[in-house]
Amino acid sequence: MKHFFITATILLLITTSLVASPNFQKMLEDIDRQSNFDNKDFSSQVTMIHEDPEEGIDKTVLRQFRRDRDDMFVILLQSPEVKKGQGYLRAEENLWFYDPESRKFSHSSMKENFQGSEAKNSDFRMWTYSKDYTVESWADGKLGNFDVWILDLKATHNEVTYPYKKFWITKNENLLLKTEDYSLNKRLMRTSLFLSYTKSGDTYIPNKIIFIDELIKGKKTQITFEDISTMPIPNSVFTKAYIERVSR
């Protein structure tokens, strides 16, 4: 009888914990899915305001074209004047940077910072958190007025830019509100705040993000997405020839 009670209590505890613990892997998949445009193309006007305590404030405007189903994107810089004509092409697992001065493409990396800002080149492609990370621990809490899950993530392989991350996800719609990115030795390197979202079909698109450099006080980048469109984009846009042509 005594054994029965112990076993029943253990089973009850396990069942309770399973019921209480949400499926975080599915949550990550939802976040990936919400930010991806599997069957559609995506384009937007992006404004980046970069603040550096040593160099001051600069503003960059660019046009972004994305085709997530083929893991492709094109970025064309429109201002300031000195950067006008520069472009990026993500295609066939490669990232190319185009310099209109030399009229040459050079190989770049998704892990590099975009134009010296706090944003990484990889921030302009679809998210793949469910593939790259597993949830190590979780808690529930509040972020401002939102009830959130706070997840500690660990990379599933050693090639992602940040080996550890911390996510704040809204409980009702699984929207990412805040992330913290940690180095291999678990030092906080970057905080990202997703200030607002816009809905396009079933997809939630963060349209205002702030990236804060946690190593240099006062260094941050604000990115705003405007003129968002999910209309089809011609195949010719995702080519080097297109970037060369529009950069003239």
């Binding site: 392989h157 050693n158 090639e159 940040y162 291999l184 390197m189």
Partner: protein, 450 residues
């Protein structure tokens, strides 16, 4: 002969202005070509020294392996076979360095500076401590955990003091972000310039940051005793290593773009940029694939440009000299006319035709050689003065300078070549007037009155 040489010497001073102008033209040409040769000669040595200092050797061996996710990473795990092969060259080696390196950002307060940091195996690199002009702190402390030695330029840019802690943001060998903390223990005077100056820490401290196991390293660099033997020794090492491990071919690719990409990728690895490339299954390999590069691989093109500069300089010198020689020829025609009666008198007194010709030739040679000597004197003086000017180490041209100073080498071989050229051209220019003077009939010459 001595007598005629004396006459030629006296004749060359009879029309001082004319001799001065002819000699001056030769001196000017000689000055320009000697300065150019000095500059290019110094440039070759400076570039080679700056490159070998920046990359830490004359022969560079890097390793790359394919990891479990089919990505190429910069690492050298089975270095025993490499060291065995290097042992075959031991008589020709001045020093070997085994290092890891990475490129990242040093951060201090709100300032940051891009810097390559090299991890040095201090227990084996005995000469490391004497290779630097330390301006603050002590290099002996570099063996302490997380100790770093930086250049004066870096320290000034970050406003760092000895004993202060600086953050270092970089990537691991597989591309993950990592942040290390370094304590500044020593400052050294910039040596290579052109943004190639590294910072230094001990191997273990750097390995921890870039995710390499203790005792591992990414490159083996070799300083040879004789820089001229780089190609021969590299070939020997390549052939030896090829029998024991996978070595990237040193033959030039047929596709020039492919070749440039290969060299650029290797240089990125040497610069500490962690390059991660997806390796298609058909191209994959096991264990370490070695790449052998040399100083000459990276400086050959610059050397060729310098050679072209030398050739162009020599052609300009020849053109200048030919113009001067036309002047000499005309001047000596005038001389012949002016001295017709004198030649007639000498011939009447028994001086032979050959000797009259020789007096003219000696005179032209004296003017040419004195001009060359003057040009050489001025070029050495100007080189000496230019060599004292410090052009600084923070500009683009710093890579072509030796610690901020122009390195001008006196080009002994070229000087002899140029002297022979000037003498030969002078001889050719004076030959016709000299022969014409020698052919003058004494009676006619004595009666001639211009």
């Amino acid at each position: 002969m001595k007598q005629y040489l004396k006459i030629a010497l006296r004749n060359s001073t009879r029309q001082k202005k004319r001799s001065l102008l002819l000699g001056g033209a030769i001196a000017f040409g000689f000055l320009i070509i000697t300065l150019l040769n000095s500059f290019t000669g110094g440039l070759l040595v400076t570039i080679q020294n700056n490159f070998s200092n920046a990359f830490g050797g004359h022969i560079y061996i890097t390793g790359k392996e394919v990891n479990e996710r089919n990505k190429e990473v910069s690492v050298m795990n089975n270095s025993a076979v490499l060291l065995e092969s290097i042992d075959a060259l031991r008589m020709d080696i001045a020093s070997i360095s085994k290092r890891s390196q990475t490129s990242g950002n040093l951060i201090f307060g709100t300032r940051q500076y891009r810097q390559k940091i090299e991890g040095v195996l201090l227990s084996e690199e005995k000469e490391f401590s004497t290779a630097f002009a330390v301006t603050a702190g002590t290099i002996d402390d570099l063996s302490k955990e997380n100790a770093v030695m930086l250049s004066t330029e870096t320290v000034q840019l970050l406003n760092l003091q000895i004993g202060e802690t600086v953050l270092y943001k970089t990537t691991t060998t597989t591309g993950q972000q990592n942040v290390g903390e370094f304590i500044l223990v020593a400052v050294f005077a910039d040596q290579s310039g052109f943004g190639l100056t590294s910072g230094y820490t001990n191997l273990e401290s750097l390995n921890k940051i870039i995710g390499l196991p203790a005792g591992s390293y990414q490159t083996v660099n070799i300083f040879l005793k004789d820089m001229a033997s780089i190609d021969a020794k590299t070939e020997l090492l390549y052939e030896k290593l090829k029998t024991k491990a996978i070595v990237e071919s040193r033959e030039t690719e047929k596709d020039e773009t492919e070749d440039t990409h290969r060299m650029a990728a290797n240089m990125m690895r040497m610069m500490g940029v962690q390059t991660i490339r997806e390796v298609p299954p058909e191209e994959s390999w096991e264990k370490t694939k070695f790449t052998i590069a040399t100083l000459n691989d990276y400086t050959d093109q610059i050397m060729s440009l310098v050679e072209v500069l030398n050739v162009i300089g020599f052609i300009i010198f020849i053109v200048l000299m030919i113009i001067t020689m036309v002047g000499i020829m005309n001047s000596f025609r005038m001389v012949m006319i002016e001295r017709t009666q004198e030649i007639g008198a000498m011939r009447a007194m028994g001086v032979q035709k050959n000797n009259i010709r020789n007096i003219f030739i000696f005179e032209a040679l004296i003017i040419a050689l004195l001009g060359a000597a003057a040009g050489l004197f001025f070029s050495v003086t100007i080189s000496g003065i230019l060599g004292l000017v410090n052009f600084g180490t923070d500009s683009f041209i710093s890579f072509f300078l030796d610690k901020g100073y122009l390195s001008l080498v006196i080009p002994v071989g070229e000087i002899f070549r140029n002297i022979i050229t000037v003498s030969f051209l002078s001889l050719a220019a004076v030959l016709l007037p000299a022969r014409a003077a020698a052919k003058l009939k004494p009676v006619v010459a004595l009666q001639t009155n211009y």
